[in-house]
Amino acid sequence: MLARFGRIVLLGRRYHPPWVAFAMSDLLRLTDDGLYCEAGDFWIDPWRPVRRAVITHAHADHARPGSEAYLTSSEGRHVLRLRLGPDALIEAVPYGQPVFMNGVRVSLHPAGHILGSAQIRVEHKGEVWVVTGDYKTTPDPTCALFELVRCHVFVSECTFGLPIYHWPDPRTVFAQIHAWWQANAAAGRASVIYGYALGKAQRILAGVDASVGPLLTHGAVERVNAAYRESGVALPATEYVGGVADRARYRGALIIAPPSAHGAPWVRRFGDCATAIASGWMQVRGMRRRRAVDRGFVLSDHVDWDELMRTIEATGAERVLLTHGYTAVVARYLQERGLQADVLSTRFVGDADDIDAIAEKA
């Protein structure tokens, strides 16, 4: 108790580094623990244990263990439980339904990133802030469609905030994946596709035509599949690789695994197999070549450049804060267009897990 009290006192006096470009009266501000709402006394996606954490989505850089209480969307509660373990105190609230904290109105709205992902809308004294977490505006059968929320201050990610990023139609990408899988199956080879175990893997499963061959999964993917199914998301039948007794069944199968499995002893069991990564980073050739996989499929759970710009404009926000990705570039671009835009130095890493690009991102 004393420790908690002590922290509250410290918070008010804490030194704010110069890049925190806004005043103390801001509805949300950056502290050493994360993005903090003083009026409501809660944090959004904190990177250190706090009392009350409102979570945008269950990816590791946004949902960290150790806090006393968590608030998530109803759809996201199973995947968040998977991330935080059985002992975490998790409260769930349906999209759109307000929760009041010290008179601050907080509501969660679909972000379209992965199952349960939410933008956090914070309203206090007539001022509305929206924190996106990660988001995409393209439809995805495994999660609710992104909802546009008008606001005064838009706190946005910009993982792919460069005009070189234009996502192809997902239907085209799935047709490519299909053709690739079919050709490999015809040649008697296994097809291993790498994607983040939470979100990307399920999107792939929901998008492929399962008639080509068996769908096999890495253990990390299969655990998340269970949480998705428990949440009511329809996924085709999958089988955990470790449970496959007959190795001949690998041939012709589509195997879904996290990127960390690439080059690991785990993939050797498939013998001569074709490999691919599904990620927005695959739009750039050098990224794919550096991963040494056979194919790169451009499938992202983030907004591309045009979607980012359209969304920012549509929110009507007069001020934009960029949390992670090409923050400096996007801020400058928006400033040149007359918007008030700043960089917020958070510890979110966006799509880094997709291809361990942590060290590679500016």
Partner: protein, 558 residues
């Protein structure tokens, strides 16, 4: 263009040589002959002169995409490839054009060079608008003169052999020298028999692998040669008796083929450039040679009985006109290695022993100071030869060449009969001071480094002066580590260049060193590369200019 873009994507999409060959075979079977000829031309690495400057292209691409120049540069830094950056940026598409590759090259690309700037711009913008992103990428590669795709000439030849049924050595030979891509050329290329009318055509150069690839090496790929007796034993075990081998100095000049046929002389570089006019001294040798002779040798700057540093040659390369002064300062000679054609007959399959004897006679008969027989390095044992190898630099050579006496003159790089055995590089410890993002598979990672050494006493008023740039030599993991260091320790940004806090020390290797007025440090090094990260060293432990200058060869003044 569509099919060629698909071929590029197919080649780019696989690491497996069989699949690459299959993709080329598919293309060559279905493409019109003129397209096939151009495809071969580009695939084996030939390119027309760059038609548009990169600066213009960048400006036009930014304009076409409706973005500011700084934003274009950010994109370029993330992509690491100019052609690809321009292809990824959104361009308002107009009606799609369905021209073939040869129509694009002959009708649009080649005429570009002759146009004035506004016309160029108009043509380039129109081309972008009529191509899809994948085609635009390949097109950009062609206009920037940077077309490269992961196939070796060997693989292209293998695909051609599969399509035509002509054997690979013949095809390799037919692809040498100067030729104009056309339907006729392609027909000649794949014909079972042709009247080889082109008298200038050189033979494919025979290349050697590094001895390191044959012998046991340490983790860094260096030979275990600390103990000469043991090492001689290793050589004996790997290569057999020394009496089966011919050892020559490995020179650092310009490898070239001198052709004398029907009273005409042609001089080709290994990069298959016709360089007859650039080396009049060498071209003059032709007149002294009998008809139907082809020599393989090395062009070297040579004066007062000594080979000069390679830098002297560089002062001549690229000059349009050779003044008397230049000819006097950097006179060149040809050190002949081998004989490929005699009396108009291809003698490459004869043993080296025979070719060398004939070559010696020819050189002797010429009696020219500009034509020398590359001397044989004699030794009684592997151990004695190793001692001589260690003295290579004293002979102005960079090591030895070992050639099996009964070997034929092979096509391309051959394993087993020819080996290059270079001396250990010079080394220096230097401090990382600037970094820039890399290209290609290093795109988006800071991997191009500038290193500095101390001018003066590091502990007493000395300052770091940049002395070499290097980007190869680190493992992927080390590269990522250094990249993270650079991001966390950037002091300043100048466009794409970052000034880095001086902290990391690297051991650099380089092949040669010379004075240079163009470099701040006053010296220039040849083939610098990173040997390893020296985490055990502090920046004060890095080398000084003084210690590096001590490596400078004593050079006869020009």
């Amino acid at each position: 263009m569509r099919d060629f873009a698909v071929l590029y994507a197919d080649l780019d999409a696989t690491n497996k040589t069989n699949e690459k060959v299959a993709a080329m075979v598919r293309y060559l079977r279905s493409a019109p002959p003129a397209d096939a000829a151009w495809a071969i031309y580009f695939l084996i690495g030939r390119r027309p002169r760059q038609a548009v400057s990169a600066t213009h292209l960048r400006a036009w691409a930014a304009e076409a995409a409706g973005i500011a120049d700084w934003l274009f540069e950010e994109c370029y830094a993330a992509v690491g490839d100019l052609a690809e950056t321009m292809a990824l940026l959104d361009v308002r598409a107009s009606s799609r054009a369905s021209h073939s590759l040869s129509e694009w090259v002959e009708g649009v690309l080649l005429p570009l060079r002759e146009m004035d700037e506004p016309d160029k711009k108009c043509v380039v913008l129109r081309a972008w608008a009529s191509l899809d992103s994948r085609e635009r990428f390949v097109w950009n590669k062609l206009i920037t003169g940077a077309f490269r795709v992961g196939v070796s000439q060997k693989l292209v030849v293998r695909a051609l052999a599969e399509v035509s049924g002509v054997d690979e050595a013949t095809l390799s030979h037919r692809l040498m020298g100067e030729w104009q891509p056309s339907a006729d050329f392609f027909a000649q290329l794949i014909a079972p028999e042709t009247a080889d009318a082109d008298i200038s055509r050189p033979y494919p150069f025979c290349l050697a692998y590094a001895l390191e690839s044959k012998l046991p090496t340490d983790a860094r790929g260096r030979l275990f040669d600390a103990d000469p007796v043991a090492f001689a034993g290793t050589l004996q075990a790997a290569l057999g008796d020394l009496s089966d081998w011919q050892a020559e100095w490995k020179w650092d000049g310009i490898r070239a083929q001198l052709i004398r046929r029907r009273g005409q002389t042609f001089l080709w570089s290994r990069g298959e450039e016709l360089i007859t006019a650039r080396f009049p001294e060498i071209a003059a040798i032709g007149a002294a040679l009998p008809d139907g002779v082809v020599l393989d040798g090395e062009i070297l700057p040579f004066k007062d009985g000594r080979v000069l540093p390679f830098g002297r040659l560089q002062t001549r390369i690229g000059r349009k006109t050779l003044t008397k002064k230049i000819l006097a300062e950097a006179p060149v000679v040809l050190f002949a290695y081998d004989l490929l054609e005699l009396d108009g007959q291809d003698v490459r399959s004869r043993p080296l022993r025979w070719r060398r004897a004939q070559l010696a006679q020819l050189v002797e008969a010429c009696r020219l100071p500009t034509l020398k027989l590359s001397p044989i390095v004699a030794a009684e044992s592997w151990e004695a030869l190793e001692r001589r190898q260690q003295c290579s630099r004293a002979h102005d050579a960079e090591g030895l060449m070992l050639k099996r006496l009964d070997s034929s003159y092979g096509v391309g790089r051959i394993v087993g009969d020819w080996w290059k055995w270079k001396v250990a590089p010079y080394t220096a410890d230097a401090v990382l001071v600037y970094a820039q993002a890399g290209h290609g598979r290093r795109a988006g990672l800071f991997t191009d480094y500038t290193f500095a050494v101390w001018d003066g006493d590091p502990r007493n008023g000395g300052r770091l002066v940049p002395f070499a740039k290097a980007y190869s030599g680190l493992t992927d993991a080390e590269m990522r580590r250094v990249d993270a260091f650079i991001r966390a320790n950037t002091l300043e940004k100048f466009g794409p260049v970052r000034t880095v806090k001086p902290q990391l020390v690297f051991e650099l290797g380089f092949e040669g060193i010379q004075r240079s007025a163009r470099h701040k440090s006053g010296i220039a090094v040849r083939f610098p590369r990173i040997l390893r990260l020296r985490d055990d060293k502090r920046i004060e432990d890095a080398d000084t200019l003084e210690t590096i200058r001590a490596l400078l060869p004593i050079e006869p003044e020009a």
